[in-house]
Amino acid sequence: MSGKKALLSSVLVLLVVLSFGALASAEPVKIRFVSLAWQEQSIAANYEIVDEWNRLNPDIQVEYIPGSWDSIHDYMVTSFETGDVPDIFHYEAALIGDFARRGYLADLRPYIDDELWEDTFEGAWATVAGDNGEIWGMPFIWESLIILYNKDILEEAGIELPTTENPWTWDDIRSVAKELTVDFDGDGEIDQWGAAIPLRAPVNRILNLTLGFGGGYFVEEDGRYTVRVGEAEKGLLSVIMDMIYEDKSAYPGAVGLSGTAVLPAFYEGDYALLPGIGVWARQQIMQNAPEDFRWGVLPPVKGQTQLQGANPQTLSIPKASKHQAEAMEFIKFFVAKENVTKLALGDWMYPTRKSALAMPEFQTEEAGWKVSSETVQFLTVGPWHGVPGFPEWKDRVATPVMQELFANQITIEEAAQRMESEGNRILQRYR
């Protein structure tokens, strides 16, 4: 009796499973897309693009999954290890190299046609390229570090502004900042600082700017990487330290502030210049600054060159995804000229596509777009991209050491020595 019953029920279960299987194969392909968009405009742009794709492609339906920058790394590591992966995920060039090294990512190069290849900036491709020409992610938007300035203060002081052809060097910045640091009422406290350099999370900013000094923090020898903090690297560190502690022309409180946190006092006229701030900051100014606040964008500072490290936002496809070709179709749609324009405007960054950057939206004088967009020519890949163990070096060593340095608790020599010795110990563990 009971044996018969069991047989019957297992046949039933089997039937149910089979019929679901049959249904599934008749259903459209499902693509899961984890996005990290967080600014309102940019989320709207993402939804618009996904909705339109789903309308145009009934066979390939994209599911939009909102993720967060704080947890994406842990989330993806767990996904890769369990094999339950989204088909597309949004991240940044500097960190997908680590995933690629572990064999988690699909090579997108075979899917990329000539048109897309030619129309994307070489500097952007370089940030996602593997050793053998693989492409580990589609770079779609990126940013540069610019100088923001208070128009009223600089005009009043009669300072001659730099141009793209004739940019300021760090020495120029130093002397201008000194000139613009004023104690109006003579009470011994400075009322207007020449500059403010937000350094709460200093590593990305310092690394990206160091390229202009000819430095790069990492050198490769025989396939092994070592940390090297030489004269070029120390050059930038000492300019900043001198401005804060020797000239006293850069606001020392900014050492503990983030890029967003220095802005309110900038609107108040407390700082004349914000050197080395991300282009996205313009969005905050447009949204939050008082109506009568007059400001502008200056071209990036020149060390030896104006080169800057770039770290585009990317879309990648896990190797474990069962629908790589379909996922790539969606990515191509996502980075089509009109769409990537929408996305870049939503985040106040630049599209990585040449044709999109040429659109009038990015070439207008308004909100400093033109000067900003011209900086794209200086964006290039930093030598730290793809260095095994770079994320650990950045969090564990470079961040606290630079924070202590800029808080004037250790010397540049000590900082350099610690970043090298502690860093190289960490790098040795990685293969």
Binding site: R102, D395, Q403, R429
Partner: protein, 292 residues
């Protein structure tokens, strides 16, 4: 007949044993094993003996995280017991609105650690929009708002206070139960002998609570040493690693940097250290008791 009953018993136990084996024993054993391999995510684990532990000995981040872990564990456990005892005594006294106080004291217990963390994140906001900074600046206790969770010297004390707060209900409820089990006659007798309030507390209450205190100290010690959610939500181990407890350190190694073998080794060491300390503590307690 006999065989059948053994089988029958097995049949009863099996449904429990299978999940225990699948969900506890296998992960535990494989976790211990991974601690002796060079496992990095993306590659196959290879047995490497004591290499992880040798690296650990020279790993300054490991030492600093354990140092922070001990400051945190001792601070939080001591605070939970001391304040818990104080609260329990108050709740045990015949005061008005006692019922309300007893309910309110349970509130933190009802919140998961992550929610506690999010809530305190808002309380501790770095500018005067944070209630704590607002209150303290209004009262003139501090002149500038303090960035509690991001200041190198304030971060650890701050999370210790929040940690104490989160564990208070449990310790005070357990201690309250202990208090209520002390016979009233003992206090009367002590009173007749001329013992004041303090002497009664020292000679009646404390000895009466002794076993409860030993139990709650051991439990809280283990839980606090292994704390994760609250601190993860508050500081993620920052600033500059000043609040990187051992558990966070192991989590970072595993999930952020993909060094699963090393993370498992850290887990093994944590289990060893906690067990060793507990054994020493419990032994001493029982030895003293035997001597009494």
């Amino acid at each position: 007949m006999k065989q059948r009953s053994v089988l029958g018993q097995l049949g009863l136990v099996l449904p429990f044993l299978v999940p225990v084996f699948l969900l506890s024993v296998i992960p535990l054993v494989s976790g211990i094993y991974l601690g002796f391999t060079d496992y990095q995510f993306g590659w196959d684990p290879k047995f490497n003996g004591l290499d992880n532990y040798i690296y650990m000995l020279g790993d300054s981040y490991f030492w600093s995280s354990f140092r922070i872990g001990f400051i945190w564990t001792f601070g939080v456990t001591a605070g939970q017991i001391l304040f818990g005892l104080g609260l329990a005594l108050l709740l045990n006294a015949k005061l008005r609105f006692q019922w309300l106080a007893r309910v309110l004291i349970l509130v933190p217990w009802a919140m998961p650690p992550i929610i506690r963390g999010l809530m305190w994140n808002m309380v501790l906001l770095p500018d005067t929009s944070g209630p704590l900074n607002y209150l303290l600046t209004q009262l003139g206790i501090i002149s500038q708002p303090i960035n509690w969770l991001n200041n190198f010297s304030w971060a650890l004390p701050t999370i210790i206070l929040v940690g104490i707060w989160g564990g208070l209900p449990q310790s005070s409820v357990v201690l309250l139960a202990g208090l209520q089990s002390i016979p009233k006659e003992l206090y009367e007798a002590a009173g007749l002998d001329g013992a004041g309030v303090w002497a009664q507390f020292r000679h009646v209450t404390l000895p009466g609570l002794r076993q409860v205190i030993v139990a709650i100290v051991s439990l809280r010690f283990m839980w606090n040493f292994n704390a994760f959610g609250l601190v993860y939500a508050l500081t993620q181990g920052g600033p500059g690693g000043r609040t990187r407890l051992p558990m966070l350190f192991a989590y970072e190694e595993g999930f952020r940097y993909g060094n699963a073998g090393y993370a498992a080794a850290l887990g093994n060491v944590m289990v060893l250290v906690v067990s060793a300390l507990l054994i020493i503590y419990l032994r001493r307690q029982f030895a003293e008791e035997g001597g009494m």
